[in-house]
């Protein structure tokens, strides 16, 4: 747990389906702190964390609907701004 108040986080299951998403977060959020815990992967960042559809699609090699994120989502912290191309976590 980070004690900073403006930390946002995204937690996904640690499995093959989530891997391209985790890789995409790693590529698009260089400052994000990614922790591999048993069964889950916790991605934390200061103030802002994004998942870009295009990056995930590149990692995955097929079209990806941003809603597919929910399949392996465990938890998230932050306000969600979502459109067809990206999902952004931040505090408003």
């Amino acid at each position: 747990m980070s004690d900073k108040k403006n930390t946002v986080f995204l937690i996904l299951q640690d499995n093959e389906e989530a891997r391209p998403i985790i890789d995409a977060v790693e590529q698009d959020n260089p400052e994000a702190n990614i922790q591999y815990q048993p069964g889950l992967v916790r991605m934390e960042a200061d103030a802002r964390l994004v998942v870009n559809r295009e990056t995930v699609e590149e990692n995955l090699g097929r079209d990806w609907d941003i809603q597919e994120l929910h399949i392996n989502l465990i938890s998230l912290g932050g306000h969600v701004t979502e459109d067809e191309d990206q999902i952004e976590l931040s505090w408003h």
């Binding site: 093959e16 891997r19 591999y36 048993p38 590149e58 995955l60 090699g61 097929r62």
Partner: protein, 332 residues
């Protein structure tokens, strides 16, 4: 009494196999694709040369003029290994099966006007022989190729081609109420009709190409890049406009398949051309050589399919293909 349950996490001593670690590091566990596909081919300790080809080792990089520092620079963007490939294809197969059953049950073939049916018999059905040729060629690439990331892709490709040949055969059977009349006629066309001979000659010349990467270019880049957009996209649209939308339902897999295949051919062209100028030059040379040859070979079929527009349609498809390959760093 209170019981305290504390979570204890055990970190494994090592996350990956040694050969995977050498490539991708030990920071996180390798993906299934990486474990299944990378460095599977042996590289050393070949005790005997194959009896049928004493000039080469069992796995030999010198079977092609293309030179790569690391033959594993290419990765399949779809990341197919046995599991993902079979799951993806079985989903598509279910849809296709359903479409065939639907067409059969509703007798939709009877709703197609006779001229449209004949156009399909003349153009689409003989393509099953092209697909079978593509299966042979991809098996050959898999046999001689180097780098298991490349060879898995071509083996899956070979199986896809057999599947597509079978889909076309089933269309041929459906249209005649399970009689083989159409299939026999298409075979005769493929063997004897003058408009098919150029293409047949080209496909048979590909069978005996010695450089597997040239075969890769000729078959998977150029021939497919012309045939699929021209016949399974443009010609199908024409048939649909003439009352043959049923046929498009039965060849939906081919359209999807080509869009998917373009992803890895693009990636392979890009990686190989980027490696060196010599590679890029060689690839461009092969693309130009086979585009010239195959456009000429396909032209009579295109004219038969589209009438006076045939040459223009083919020229447009050719431009699209060259533009796509140009983007990957080839000078074509």
């Amino acid at each position: 009494m209170s019981i305290e349950i504390s979570a204890k996490s055990i970190t494994p001593i090592r996350k990956n196999y040694g050969h995977i670690e050498a490539r991708f590091g030990d920071k996180k566990p390798a993906s299934r694709y990486q474990e299944a596909v990378y460095d599977v081919q042996p590289t050393t300790n070949f005790h005997y040369r194959p009896l049928w080809d004493k000039d080469f080792e069992l796995y030999d990089t010198s079977r092609t003029a293309i030179v790569m520092e690391d033959w594993y620079s290419f990765a399949d963007p779809r990341q197919y290994y046995y599991g993902t490939y079979t799951i993806a294809r079985s989903k598509q197969q279910e849809v296709a099966e359903h479409n065939y059953a639907f067409v059969d049950k509703r007798d939709l073939m009877d709703t197609i006007p006779e001229e449209t049916k004949q156009a399909m018999r003349d153009i689409l059905i003989p393509l099953r022989h092209v697909e079978w040729g593509a299966n042979m060629n991809n098996c050959d690439i898999t046999d001689k190729g180097y780098g298991s990331t490349i060879c898995t892709v071509t083996m899956f490709n070979a199986m896809d081609r057999l599947g597509m040949a079978q889909y076309i055969s089933r269309i041929g059977l459906l249209v005649d109420g399970n009689e083989t009349t159409t299939l026999d006629a298409a075979k005769k066309d493929w063997m004897e009709a003058p408009e098919w001979q150029g293409l047949r000659h080209a496909v048979e010349d590909m069978f005996v190409l010695t450089d597997w990467f040239e075969l890769m270019i000729a078959q998977n880049f150029v021939l497919d890049g012309l045939i699929f957009p021209l016949f399974f996209d443009r010609f199908e649209r024409k048939l649909s406009a003439e009352g043959g939308a049923t046929i498009a339902m039965l060849t939906e897999f081919m359209t999807e398949w080509y869009a998917e295949t373009a992803r890895w051919t693009n990636a392979l062209a890009k990686v190989t051309a980027k490696e060196s100028d010599a590679n890029s030059q060689l690839l461009s040379e092969w693309v130009n050589k086979w585009t010239d040859r195959l456009v000429e070979a396909i032209e009579p079929v295109a004219i038969k399919a589209f009438g006076s527009e045939g040459a223009d349609q083919l020229a447009e498809v050719k431009q699209e293909l060259l533009a796509r390959l140009g983007k990957q760093g080839l000078s074509v």
